[in-house]
């Protein structure tokens, strides 16, 4: 078994799998069950300022989309921060941390954009013995209407300001949780860094309406005939989250800043991908809410097996794919591939043919007896056939050898690298020499 011990902004945990600030971490009972199940850490569900707690709707808080066999692919919620009294949460945090000193326990916070409010709550959290705080600048529903959550996360100046208050008024590590509901994720990350944040975590949920009730003509989830946008999470958001993590990891302004990766982590493989793109650990919510806390056991065994097979340690994995995240203009236009269909694996469904013939390059031939073959003189290697083929590994992209002639263009495959920056069609091209 590979050693999965993780240290993130100085916080140690037996594995890099934390539960994100969300319903699963709202109270002592759940968190104890999570630790017993094997979770390396939790971010306690967001605390608000002292006083009467927020209230939640009394109708559905969640909406979802599903795939085959009703597998949950995306979840939307309109739940607010904790609706339990501050002192109850603080008492429970203290008790849990005392009993599980080896596990990470970070407390998520969201109080108004006034220094006094942050000054008031930080010592109370510090007193619990919690390992750190995460600033919730991400929740896109409800609290944002009151000037908190993503309303802060969408204004880099506010992020910087509040982060600075937190760092000035607390010795605890500070993670800033970012909203994806912005145009350029690098700006809020840079602001967090300027404010002194120890790390960023992302992504929080995405503004969403999961579906519309076509009888009521109301968005789901529907409360008394009306609906409000919620925050979208689960497997469906992972590609968006991966890109945002990578953008921060490779930006010269934020490179090296610790990242806690969040967004649709469902299996060990998802976690490994986030970490390869620069996340020091991951946070999970929807997978636990869908399957229960036990899923962490698969994540632990899977990541461990992968690291063993690769012969690398956990820290070697972090950021390993970042150098390969590039811009389009730097992709090698001289790397020429052709689709190839493995006739032994092909089940003759013809989906590649329909996709290519109807919507792409007419580069797949279909014989009378349903044999499908690639026409190399038409194939641009777009990969659509690979993506629509129901048989994994049946269609692959095979790179042409240097010196071979591409039957589509009649040109010889060059040995040297050549991207758009030097391409003759590019009016801005710089000479290669």
């Amino acid at each position: 078994m590979a050693d999965l011990t993780s240290t993130f902004v100085g916080i140690k945990s037996p594995n890099p799998f934390w539960l994100a600030s969300a319903p699963p971490t709202d109270k002592e009972y759940n968190v104890r069950r999570a630790y017993e199940a094997g979770w390396g850490g939790v971010v306690w569900k967001t605390l608000g300022e002292e006083g009467p707690p927020v209230v939640n709707v009394n109708g559905p808080r969640y909406g979802a989309i599903w795939g085959a066999d009703r597998r949950l692919l995306g979840l939307n919620n309109i739940e607010l921060i904790t609706d339990r009294p501050l002192e109850v949460n603080l008492r429970e945090i203290k008790a849990v941390k005392r009993d599980y000193p080896d596990r990470a326990l970070v407390v998520s916070l969201m109080v108004p954009c006034e220094e006094a409010a942050w000054k008031a709550i930080l010592p109370l959290v510090e007193e619990t013995g919690a390992d750190g705080v995460e600033l919730n600048f991400g929740c896109p529903h409800g609290m944002s209407e009151r000037g908190m959550g993503s309303a802060v996360g969408q204004v880099p100046e506010y992020i910087e300001m509040v982060t600075r208050w937190v760092k000035q008024n607390s010795r605890m590590p500070c993670i800033v949780k970012l909203t994806p509901n912005i145009t350029d994720i690098r700006k809020p990350a840079e602001a967090a860094k300027r404010g002194g944040a120890d790390a960023v975590s992302l992504i929080n949920t995405i503004n969403s309406i999961t579906s519309v009730d076509l009888d009521l003509f109301a968005p789901e989830p529907t409360i008394d005939g009306k609906g409000a946008h919620g925050g979208y999470c689960g497997p469906a958001v992972k590609p968006i989250a991966l890109n945002m993590v990578a953008e921060i990891a490779r930006s010269p302004e934020t490179r090296g800043m610790p990242i806690s990766g969040i967004g649709g982590v469902t299996t060990w493989r998802d976690a490994a991908e986030f970490m390869a793109l620069g996340a020091g650990n991951v946070q999970v919510c929807t997978a636990a809410m869908t399957y229960g806390f036990k899923v962490v056991q698969e994540m632990i065994s899977g990541l461990s097996q992968y690291l063993d097979e690769k012969g690398v340690g956990l820290s070697d994995l972090v950021g390993r794919a970042v150098p390969n995240v590039s811009d389009w203009q730097n992709l090698n236009l001289n790397a020429i591939s052709k689709a190839k269909i493995d006739q032994d694996l092909c089940i003759s469904c013809g989906r590649c043919y329909a996709a290519c013939e109807d919507t792409s390059h007419q580069a797949i031939a279909m014989s009378e007896d349903r044999v499908f073959t690639v026409k190399d003189d038409e194939c641009v290697a777009c990969n659509l056939c690979v993506n629509v083929c129901p048989v994994e590994g049946c269609i692959s992209m095979e790179r042409m050898d240097v010196g071979a002639t591409d039957p589509r263009t009649g040109k010889v495959v060059p040995a040297e690298f050549g991207d758009w920056t030097t391409h003759p069609n590019n009016p801005m091209a710089r000479a290669a020499e």
Binding site: A68, D69, R70, S348, C349, G350, R351, Y353, A354
Partner: protein, 440 residues
């Protein structure tokens, strides 16, 4: 096992009513909504799908499955029924394992096809349960067409003709419409009086009158029909049953399997349905399997199918053979009946082992039997019909016979497999040709 099951002779009440109910329940229980979605999701929506090509009625199978997957089984049903108006029955009785499901790419790849038959049943059951008839008649043409035989071919032909605006009269010799759907298939394939309900639903198109108890050759002639109507469609099936042609064929207890199956289907009290203790079914087709399995389900102690060639040459599909064996039916192959022994009633039946080309081996054996079913095929009663090709009515193209303005389809017509689905296709195509001819 108790005394009732051990009692020799042909007698009723071998099993408790509950055991009979269980045995004769739906062979393939219908999908619930979620099961249908899961099953539908397995379909790859193939291009130019092999399943649709394999379907004798050319149903657009990927399309109807996608319509189920997206929550519109009624639209799926319309896709099915526009090609095959008896899609509900075909979903139950089609040998899908040798048609659409055999060529499903997932059968080829995984040995586990998309369950097209059960999905088709889900969609057609839904539209029938909602009592929706998704087709409308065209404006009246003033033409009158007579359809002889209210079986699958005749019903399919009549519906399509009615849709085109013609007035249709269906004549059938039996007391009820439905043909083999009503009288000729195992009860567990058409539960809850489905065949009759389907006919009622089909008649929802309007413009079709059914006259039962009217038999061609007995009550009326083809010449009368051609003079009284603008066109005639013959879907009269195969009324005769082939005899064994051996000594003792007429002993008590020797019976045609189709009559047994028909009695069973028309019975409203299976505890009163008699069956032998030692039943022998001679033949290798679906009828043999239907008779054998239902004998077993009625409580027969020993049921044996004896077929004269090797098992792979049986007309019954592999699925049907496995079903029979799973129900406890023994299948003996390469054995030809030689004589039925007994004193008045059958006591034993004697066979000789024969090669696949039916060469005798000289080796014989006897099986104890108190009931013997003949299931070695049916034949056309051909008096007063158009010209034959072999033992069936000769047809050209979409069912044109040697007589002008007379078409034929289904089992009575030459060519095609004797399947319900083939009969439906032939009836439909003849109707299109009749329409084109009448409107010329």
């Amino acid at each position: 096992m108790d005394a009732r099951q051990l009692a020799a002779g042909i007698r009723a009440g071998r099993l408790e009513p509950q055991a009979l109910d269980e045995g004769f329940s739906d062979l393939h229980p219908p999908y619930d909504d979620h099961e249908a979605l899961v099953a539908a999701d397995r379909c790859y929506f193939c291009h130019d799908a092999p399943c649709a090509t394999a379907c004798p009625t050319s149903i657009d199978i990927p399309l109807f499955i996608r319509q189920i997957a997206t929550g519109t089984p009624e639209a799926a049903a319309k896709t099915i029924l526009s090609q095959n108006i008896l899609g509900g029955m075909c979903a139950r009785v089609c040998p899908t394992e040798t048609l659409c499901e055999e060529v499903c790419v997932r059968e080829v790849a995984e040995g586990k096809p998309v369950e097209i038959g059960r999905l088709q049943r889900y969609a057609t059951d839904r539209i029938m349960a909602r009592n929706i008839h998704p087709f409308e008649r065209a404006a009246p043409t003033g033409k009158r067409v007579v359809v002889v035989g209210a079986g699958p071919a005749g019903l399919s032909c009549a519906h399509r003709l009615a849709m085109k605006g013609h007035d249709v009269v269906i004549l059938d010799a039996r007391a009820k419409p439905g043909g083999l759907n009503e009288f000729g298939i195992a009860a567990y394939k058409s539960t809850d009086d489905f065949a009759a309900r389907e006919v009622d639903w089909l008649l929802g198109i309007g413009g079709i009158t059914i006259e039962t108890g009217r038999m061609l050759g007995r009550d009326l002639t083809l010449a009368e029909l051609t003079s009284d109507y603008d066109a005639v469609f013959l879907g009269i099936g195969l009324g005769g049953v082939n005899a064994l042609g051996i000594e003792g064929d007429d002993r008590d207890g020797v019976r045609n399997a189709v009559e047994f199956i028909s009695d069973l289907r028309q019975s409203d009290d299976l505890t009163a349905m008699p069956v032998g203790r030692d039943v022998v079914v001679i033949g290798g087709g679906m009828t043999a399997v239907d008779a054998a399995v239902q004998s077993k389900l009625l409580g027969a102690l020993n049921v044996t199918i004896v077929y004269r060639r090797s098992q792979e040459r049986m007309a019954a599909s592999a699925f049907e053979q496995e079903l029979a064996q799973a129900k406890g039916v023994r299948i003996i192959c390469n054995a030809t009946p030689k004589a039925v022994h007994g004193n008045g009633a059958v006591r034993e039946i004697e066979f000789e082992f024969t090669g696949d080309d039916l060469t005798p081996t000289g080796e014989s054996f006897r099986l104890p039997a108190d009931q013997v079913f003949r299931a070695i095929g049916q034949s056309l009663i051909a008096d007063g019909l158009p010209a034959l090709a072999g033992r069936k009515i000769a047809v050209e193209g979409p069912g044109r016979t040697s007589v002008a303005r007379v078409w034929a389809g289904g089992d009575c017509a030459a060519g095609g497999d004797d399947l319900t689905v083939t009969a439906v296709a032939e009836g439909r195509d003849a109707a299109e040709d009749i329409h084109a001819t009448l409107m010329r």
